[in-house]
């Protein structure tokens, strides 16, 4: 995308030929981006110090080659507000996609002003790095956000705020009713009245939410605003157009985790799946905020000098505070679970008056071999699914999960091998008891 021609100039004289007297303004004093991923909207607030002359002043704002919504642009003085009045907005014929504010000032001199508008094309994505210790009972958990700017405009030294949560509006039903319910391109106002209403409602709601958020700068602010959560990324960063930048969000050490392995043929096939489980709460050194959707890369320390092995990757969904998270990190060949049917027989065959079979009972004997080839103890969770009228007899402890599923949980020592045996009895036809 072509670099933005976003300019802001003060025209010193109020005449159609005033461009001869154009003075370039100093750069932005500050810029704040609040990014609402769910609707591809970013609220941009920038402050600049302008030098006004007494009387009429013209201020030019161009949105050419950007995804700025020109209808959303607002100007307000942060000082001497009662002496500065916005009189008019013009669209000068000499240039394209530019508006010109006509501002009357009762004072001459410097005034700090805020310019606020919406743009699309700036998105963020969270990602996490989990570094488990050698025994896989604690981890260091770090969150990052990657901000990508394709808005056509550079934002140097910007304070970045990220809104987690979906901006839900009644008007979104309009989007859903359209054949392509994709994101609206806000670079040019929508053609249809209902789209226009939806666009305005979204912007209004975002402004309301923004008003409720604190304005603390240079600190990590994570605060709840109704059903949303606002993250303010520490410090300031330059987010140039066409680039993306990864910024640290948080890092928590000694987060307790439970490492375990699951086997369930119907869900994972023959593979044994490795999981890390943790809770997003204060006891787990987390819980200060909900965690947004994002990719997780997991590693495990394998030496005393912290050499890490890659464990796996996954994606986590939005994690509310106090919620338990189960991260599925792929299969692990060092933990093997192999079920084998050892015997099968049909007993108690029942016949009806005509001599036809109308009921039977089958008994299947299974052996499941478990092997932990790791140098740490592991927990394995084995799930077996049955149908019909069934019962299981075994010397091992199991738990009935629901009407069709049981689970065995075992702790395996490093290098341990063991065998689990059970007999499944299944009754059909008139033999069934339920």
């Amino acid at each position: 995308m072509q670099r933005s021609s976003f300019i802001l100039v003060l025209l010193l004289a109020f005449s159609a030929q005033a461009r001869i007297n154009v003075t370039s303004l100093p750069g932005r004093d500050s810029v704040q981006l609040t990014i609402y991923n769910s609707v591809d909207l970013t609220l941009v607030k920038e402050t600049r110090t302008l030098t006004f002359k007494k009387g009429s002043n013209r201020l030019e704002f161009s949105w050419a080659n950007t995804l700025i919504d020109p209808t959303s642009v607002e100007f307000r003085p942060l000082q001497k507000a009662d002496q500065i009045e916005m009189l008019d907005v013009r669209f000068p014929p000499r240039v394209t996609n530019t508006l010109e504010w006509n501002i009357h000032s009762e004072v001459a001199g410097e005034v700090e002003v805020e310019i606020r508008y919406f743009t699309s094309g700036i998105v963020w994505a969270a990602d996490y790095v989990c570094e488990a210790n050698a025994t896989e009972n604690q981890m260091t958990f770090a969150g990052n956000v990657r901000v990508t700017n394709r808005s056509g405009e550079d934002y140097p030294e910007a304070q970045i705020r990220l809104m987690v949560g979906v901006v839900r509006l009644v008007e979104r039903i309009v989007d859903l009713s359209r054949p392509s319910s994709g994101k609206l391109n806000l670079s040019i106002p929508a053609d249809k009245p209902e789209e226009e209403r939806a666009r305005l409602s979204r912007q209004k709601k975002i402004k309301e939410m923004d008003g409720k958020a604190s304005q603390k700068a240079k600190t990590v602010v994570k605060e709840a605003i109704g059903e949303y959560f606002l993250y303010t990324v520490e410090g300031r960063d330059t987010i140039a157009n066409g680039w993306s930048k990864r910024l640290p969000s948080f890092k928590a050490a000694d987060v307790p985790i439970t490492s375990y392995y699951k086997y369930e043929k119907e869900r994972y096939g023959a593979a044994v799946m490795r999981f890390y489980k943790f809770k997003n709460n204060k006891d787990s050194k987390l819980g200060a905020e909900p965690l947004p959707d994002g990719a997780v890369m997991a590693f495990r320390s394998v030496t005393k000098d912290n050499l890490y092995n890659f464990v796996g990757r996954t994606v986590v969904k939005y994690i509310p505070i106090d919620e338990e998270v189960e991260m599925q990190l792929g299969n692990d060949a060092e933990v093997r679970i192999q079920p084998k049917m050892m015997d099968w027989k049909k007993v108690d065959i029942a016949f009806n008056k005509s001599g036809n079979v109308d009921g039977s009972t089958t008994k299947a004997t299974w052996e499941i071999k478990l092997q932990n080839s790791k140098n740490i103890p592991v927990t394995v969770d084995i799930r077996r699914n049955f149908s019909g009228d069934w019962d299981v007899t075994t010397d091992d402890k199991f738990e009935k999960v629901d009407a069709t599923k049981i689970k065995f949980v075992f702790q395996l020592k490093p290098g341990e091998k063991r065998t689990l045996k059970y007999t499944l009895t299944t009754r059909t036809g008139t033999n069934a008891r339920k």
Partner: protein, 184 residues
């Protein structure tokens, strides 16, 4: 000679004698099919608009003399080309037409500028912000030229169409000044 020729012609006209070889019918020139809007065409229209604005129209604001004349004409040529080649790209056409009006206004051709500003609303009425910009630019052009009654007509049109409950910030300012100038 002349009589026999006439007889032959009449006979032929009545269908007598050897049937005439059918005359090839000259088909009417095929009507050009309306272009179908595609993402590629939208990109091409956007590129053409941006080229016209960035390389000709906007630089003309700071140019003088013959250079200014050339740049304005270069911009006009490309806006006209966009309108001709991409009639299916309503958004870019509306912007091109409004910008073409701006060029004509800069060239001092107010009548043509106003005609183009009017066409933005008649041809691209759904492009609401373009309509607002066109009417406001037309109104300001006339207001600055001390043609107040004509300007008021445009301000009134703005009030009639845009005076509603929920409008964007830029619309609000324009609505206020339009109400004031229209005498509402």
């Amino acid at each position: 000679m002349r009589g026999s020729s006439l007889i032959v012609l009449v006979a032929l006209a009545l269908g007598c004698g050897k049937p005439a070889k059918p005359e090839p019918i000259n088909p009417a020139p095929p009507k050009a099919a309306a272009p179908v809007s595609t993402p590629e065409r939208a990109e091409a229209a956007k590129a053409l608009f941006e080229k016209a604005a960035a390389e000709f129209h906007n630089p003309s604001a700071d140019a003088t003399g013959s250079q200014k004349t050339q740049l304005l004409e270069g911009a006009a040529k490309r806006y006209e080309q966009l309108l001709q080649d991409y009639p299916d790209q309503k958004r870019w056409c509306a912007q091109a037409l409004r910008s073409l009006a701006g060029v004509r206004a800069e060239q001092g051709d107010t009548d043509t500028a106003l005609k183009h500003y009017d066409r933005v609303a008649t041809d691209f009425g759904n492009q609401e912000f373009e309509v607002l910009q066109a009417w406001k630019a037309a109104a300001d052009l006339l207001w600055d030229a001390e043609k107040k009654p004509e300007a008021k007509a445009y301000y009134r049109m703005i009030v009639t169409r845009f005076d509603r409950k929920e409008i964007p910030p830029v619309y609000k300012i324009i609505l206020n000044i339009s109400k004031k100038r229209a005498g509402n």
